[in-house]
């Protein structure tokens, strides 16, 4: 097959196109990272922390759900308070690693009005309470086996792994998201920052 010589303009266009393709390929590969993070085809986080500065926070997180004990909790319950939401289930190995830290942080911050809620994505009540017994978890969890709360959260900052920890500021907006095991000191610092912010009602 015979090809005519390219003129200069065509060659330039082709070169630009090729470099676009190549640069698109050389960008970081989240699939490989995600896959390498775990040894199983399991949605595990890498411990990455995303903090959202005051100006770029989204809307107030609004959903309602039922706790394992049957109580209904709505977004009114976290108005004016710093809230920590933690996605977990009992057989999730990283969740078991961070559970003692979450329990300790809850004990530290509860007197200062910080609320903790778990969002359990897989377990029946008895299995969940066995986990809470094991790690001395005092805060309640939503029963979210059907994923309705996870779905509601996708409108804000979606949890992309189990565990995922979200910290809501006093206006109920997502101030930070931790994918994977939450580092205790990191989470502690985030909660303290959120607590230090002035109350929205009292300027």
């Amino acid at each position: 097959m015979k090809l005519s010589l390219l003129n200069r303009r065509q060659a330039a266009a082709a070169a630009v196109f090729a470099s676009l393709l190549l640069s698109g390929c050389a960008a970081e590969d989240p699939l490989a990272e995600k896959v390498n993070a775990g040894t199983n085809s399991y949605v595990a986080g890498d411990g990455s922390v995303a903090e959202y500065a005051e100006g770029i926070r989204g809307e107030t997180v609004r959903f309602s759900g039922q706790l394992f004990d049957g109580t209904t909790v709505t977004d009114d319950d976290w108005a004016g308070k710093v809230t920590v939401l933690n996605v977990w289930y009992a057989a999730c190995a990283p969740c078991r690693v961070e559970a003692p830290d979450l329990s300790a942080l809850h004990a530290d911050f509860e007197p200062q009005g910080v609320q903790f809620y778990g969002i359990n994505t897989r377990d029946e009540a008895a299995t969940a309470s066995a986990f809470e017994r094991s790690f001395g978890i005092e805060y309640p969890s939503f029963k979210d086996k059907n994923g309705q709360i996870l779905l509601a959260l996708t409108d804000y900052v979606p949890p992309q792994a189990v565990p995922t920890t979200l910290v809501l500021d006093k206006e109920g907006r997502v101030a930070a998201r931790i994918l994977g095991i939450a580092d205790k000191s990191t989470l502690e610092a985030i909660i303290e920052d959120a607590l230090a912010a002035p109350d929205p009602g009292k300027p």
């Binding site: 097959m1 090809l3 005519s4 010589l5 390219l6 065509q10 060659a11 082709a14 196109f17 090729a18 393709l21 190549l22 698109g24 390929c25 960008a27 590969d29 989240p30 699939l31 490989a32 995600k34 896959v35 390498n36 775990g38 040894t39 199983n40 085809s41 399991y42 949605v43 595990a44 009992a90 057989a91 999730c92 190995a93 078991r96 690693v97 994505t121 377990d123 029946e124 008895a126 299995t127 309470s129 066995a130 986990f131 017994r133 094991s134 086996k145 059907n146 994923g147 309705q148 996870l150 779905l151 509601a152 959260l153 996708t154 979606p158 949890p159 992309q160 792994a161 189990v162 095991i181």
Partner: protein
Amino acid sequence: MTTTKPPSGKTSLEDVALPRLGPAGMLRWAWRQLTSMKTALQLLLLLAVAAVPGSLFPQRPANPAVVTQYIQDNPGTGPWLDRFQLFDVYSSVWFSAIYLLLFISLIGCVIPRAVQHWKALRSQPPRTPRRLSRLPEYGTMTVAAGTALTPDRAIEDAARILRQRGYRVQLGDTGTDLPSVAAERGYLKEAGNLVFHTAMIGVLVSIAVGGMFGYRGQKLIIEGEGFTNAEPGYDSFFPGTSFNPGALVPFSLTLNNFDVTFDRNPASYGNPIDFTADMTVQDSPSDAPRQETLRVNEPIGFGGTNVYLIGNGYAPEITVRDGEGNIALQGPVASLPTDATYNSTIVIKAPDARPDQLGFVGFFLPTAMVDENGVAFGSDPDPYNPQLNLNSYTGDLGLDDGNPVSVYQLDTTELTQLNGRDLPDGGIVLGAYQTYELPDGKGSITFEGLKRYVALDIVYDPGKAGALVFTTLALLGLIITLTTARRRVWIRAGQHEDGRTMIEYGLLARGEDHSLAKEAIRIGSALTAHWNKANDQNRQATP
């Protein structure tokens, strides 16, 4: 990802006596090599060869656990294979390089040809050669003197006939003694060829778009349970390289009931006839719930996301009580079928049992029978006599160090076995609603009930529609190319001294054309028929 350094410049240009080609010349030479059709075909072949290791070695995106195991089992070769990305073949540097080069090669081939074709489309058929008799097909005819047919008229007639036959015509030398017409047809052949090549690029782009922006995930849903399309809800999730969580359509579904019908005809006893999953689905949280039926090969669609039924099995409902009398685990546990009678393997983990964690590994049999050796086996896929046959273990189940492990596997090497066929307490055999007390007061396990589950494959491939369109176009282009013949025809007329009108015609094929001779005959007879008819009419008009 490891980066390999290019070889240091030992064999640099100084050592080799190169002709004066210059960097621009070198680049042009490389570009022409790359964009030749030969290279494109070689790259295509190379791509096929490069995909082979993908089926020889376990692949990370498919099953990372197997890869980790492989590297552990082969400490010598494993790390080296990993270094050459043989466990990530389809995203490896070398595979991508071939893919991209093929891409560039195809584009570099198509663009100049399209430009050439564009020019050819607008150009006129080439002028009539001096000696038509040298063409592969050549013929002459004469029209008797006395008819009104002048050479110019003859050429106009011929041009009209050729035009009717789909030729583009160009009259030449009109007004001279030897007027002629040049004609060409079959421009569609090259157009079809270009459509084919462009569509091939389109197919590649579509596949790439699917791979970049699409995702695929699996989810197992037990009867009565639901699923929402959010990443943590998946059992396994494989996003594309440029996946954006916003691409997840916010649908949700609940499995109300799952029916399996097995054949009860003696000839094909126990074969599955139908799998029907009754689902309640919502396109988004604000949409009204609706009922849908999911069957094999009948996916439910949510926008561009399709939900496929790819498997099913039994999930026995289990309660495990620990040594302190508390419930450590309660709920359905999915078992994995290993054969057509749904004899399934099951792993039960109770990491919150105290004082010691409890684990169970064994089989679930929907209809258990006992053979002459006292070994239980399953005899029917329907649950007529459901039974659990389990070994039990105690110790650290390996969940507390943070490494994710498959829920379907339990590494028992570090555990203390409590129950088993070879142990004094024997294996655990549990019929429906039965409870077994573990030895040494370690706890108990109860078989509370049975549910079915479905395994779903959830796929979003934004390149699918494009792939279909471009494959269809490629096929159309190929058909057009193969069925269209590109031909040139020239006809020249002149007047003999005795008044006869002499016609000669020649045909030339561009490319291979087995029916050029037939076309010559057809054109010859069309001209003859036309002029005979004209003659007859003339005679009638002037009797």
